[in-house]
Amino acid sequence: MIEIDNLTKTYGAGPQAYQALRGVTATVRANEFFTLLGPSGCGKTTLLRMIAGFETPTSGKLLLDGQDVSASPPYRRPVNTVFQSYALFPHMTCAENIGFGLKMLGKPKAEITRTVGEMLDLVQMTPMANRRPSQLSGGQQQRIALARALAPKPKVLLLDEPLSALDYKLRKDMQIELKRIQKDTGITFVFVTHDQEEALTMSDRIAIMNAGTIRQIGSPRDIYDQPAERFVADFIGETNFLTVGLLGVAGQTARVALPSGRELDLRAPGELPKGPQVTMAIRPEHLELVAADAGQLSGRLSNIVYFGTDTHFHVDLGEGGALVVRSQNKPDQMPRLTAGEAVGISVLPGTGQVLRD
């Protein structure tokens, strides 16, 4: 378990000081696949490097299984890293690379040989044991880097965008592979990525970061279905934002007035901004096109974009803004629509969310 307690990191001083982390607090549970997701420059790599020990926090604490490790150097932390560039030692064979950590820990030779064998097996690279990293493909180097980081059986494995250098097909395979290895070994994985799809498919929980802070932590489903704020909703997937009037709040539900005048109950977790106007987020696939006089909203089709698996309908709501409705393409296609037609939009029950900002 990693407890991240109000960590900050400031580079430089004075007017040129740059705050890479502005007070990050989170708990990574044991044995979970935890992902730090955010745009570049959001501080996710800084946070990862801080857990590894390559960066020292400006303030705050980092606890690993209850022990404060904020000040210990990387070689004293039971944490290993899979580097973005793999960073395999070019002058060593794959087996020597994998055994390096164990050798430094002073393990007996027999144990090193056995563990290296197990690791090669785990990543299915046994035939490559005596090759040099330069003789391997990117995907193979990736596997060796993973095996090297797993060999000392760390409490936490850190992965810094490890799949970003692989091509699409290989990346898909490695995603499944990583997930399998995480389950098999039971090691806590902290994974850094800027690829939302990767985050959604692999993680137990995701922390969305922006500008040196964590914006929301939750399961992929929570994050996708219930984004807490505009940044999260916008960063993950596609979202429609609508300005709606707030009529009242009861527990986790808010009653809002849509631009069309119709009223609707939406989820509203946490605090809501004061004032009569709030922002509602709704995914395009949670909307449905209906006949012009039906549905909670109405507008005019401005554009139809065909995507193969589904079609995006851009609807102009007039004063109320614009929305995108996504519908899956099925053989029993609804009557063909053309741009300029008047349509109605229905919000699927149980969807939509009032944002906190």
Binding site: P74, Y75, T81, F89, F100, G101, M104, A149
Partner: protein, 301 residues
């Protein structure tokens, strides 16, 4: 295994382009060696030069001398002492330039890229000054009435000046100072290409700083160290000027011995034989060095 591209066939135009380089190599390197090789098996002329009588006496004289009275052949102790001193000082110079040069190269390579040029220029700066001036500057530092001795005397650390000038120590200091950039630059060049995430990977895998240096950084920059050592060792072995000025004609090196044969002693054939001996020592040392240093290196596929 990657297939190597075939060397392009040498056609007329390419041959023409090669000619200047081949000419320089032939006239500037090969021909003099052949002339020296020829001289080494001739007899010395009365006033320098050579007389065209074939004799292998010179080669014998490289390591042996004939006693005037008994006509007995004994080992030329003076020559052997000079050989030994040359090899020893060249080796120590290489070692010292590495000890001083490695941290310097490491320091420069770990600076932000836009600052590295400035540091490199500071390393290169002495090269812009005449060699003799730099050696005389060293002389000013270490002579009996020089800056170091005066300083030590004034603070009372010593009673009488330490004799540093005209010792092996002086030659060593001079050569180390002179050849330091030749060690720093190749090490810097290979360190600049060094991926410092490898060092991080080392720390991450439980290796403290010294182990990282020894297990990760040194093996990766070995080509630079080998190049630097060769660049320092060869000129140190054949050094002439430093030993002449700072050694004061007492601490002779091979270069001085050869110089004397062609100068004062008018024994060109012996000088030629000694020159080829120097060449042989360099060649043997390099073969041994590169073999040992590159022993763990496997041929790349």
């Amino acid at each position: 295994m990657a297939t190597r591209p075939k060397p392009p066939a040498v056609d007329g135009a390419r041959a023409a382009l090669l000619t200047p380089a081949l000419l320089i190599v032939t006239l500037g390197a090969l021909a003099p060696v052949l002339v020296i090789a020829l001289y080494s098996i001739l007899t010395p002329g009365d006033y320098g030069g050579v007389s065209w009588t074939v004799s292998f006496q010179n080669w014998l004289n490289v390591i042996a001398e004939r006693d005037f009275l008994t006509d007995e052949m004994t080992l030329a102790a003076a020559h052997l002492e000079i050989f030994w001193r040359s090899v020893k000082l060249a080796f120590l110079t290489t070692l010292l330039t590495f000890i001083f040069g490695f941290p310097a190269a490491y320091f420069i390579a770990t600076r932000p890229p836009h600052r590295r040029d400035l540091w490199l220029m500071l390393i290169m700066l002495p090269f812009w000054t005449n060699l003799l001036i730099r050696i005389f500057a060293v002389m000013q530092l270490i002579r009996n009435d020089g800056i170091i001795n005066n300083l030590l005397l004034s603070i009372g650390a010593i009673e009488a000046p330490i004799q540093m000038l005209y010792t092996e120590f002086a030659v060593l200091v001079g050569m180390t100072y002179l050849y330091l950039p030749l060690m720093v630059l190749p090490i810097y060049a290979s360190m600049e290409r060094f991926d410092f995430s490898l060092a991080e990977a080392g720390y991450d895998l439980y290796a403290p700083r010294l182990r990282v240096l020894q297990q990760v950084i040194l093996p990766a920059i070995k080509p630079g160290i080998i190049a630097g050592s060769i660049l320092v060792f060869i000129p140190s072995l054949g050094d002439y000027v430093v030993a002449r000025v700072l050694g004061g004609g007492k601490q002779l090196m091979l270069g001085n011995l050869i110089g004397m044969q062609f100068g004062e002693l008018r024994n060109w054939p012996l000088g030629a034989a000694l020159s080829l001996t120097l060449l042989a020592i360099v060649a043997v040392a390099m073969v041994i060095y590169v073999r040992t240093a590159g022993a763990e290196e496997e041929p790349h596929g």
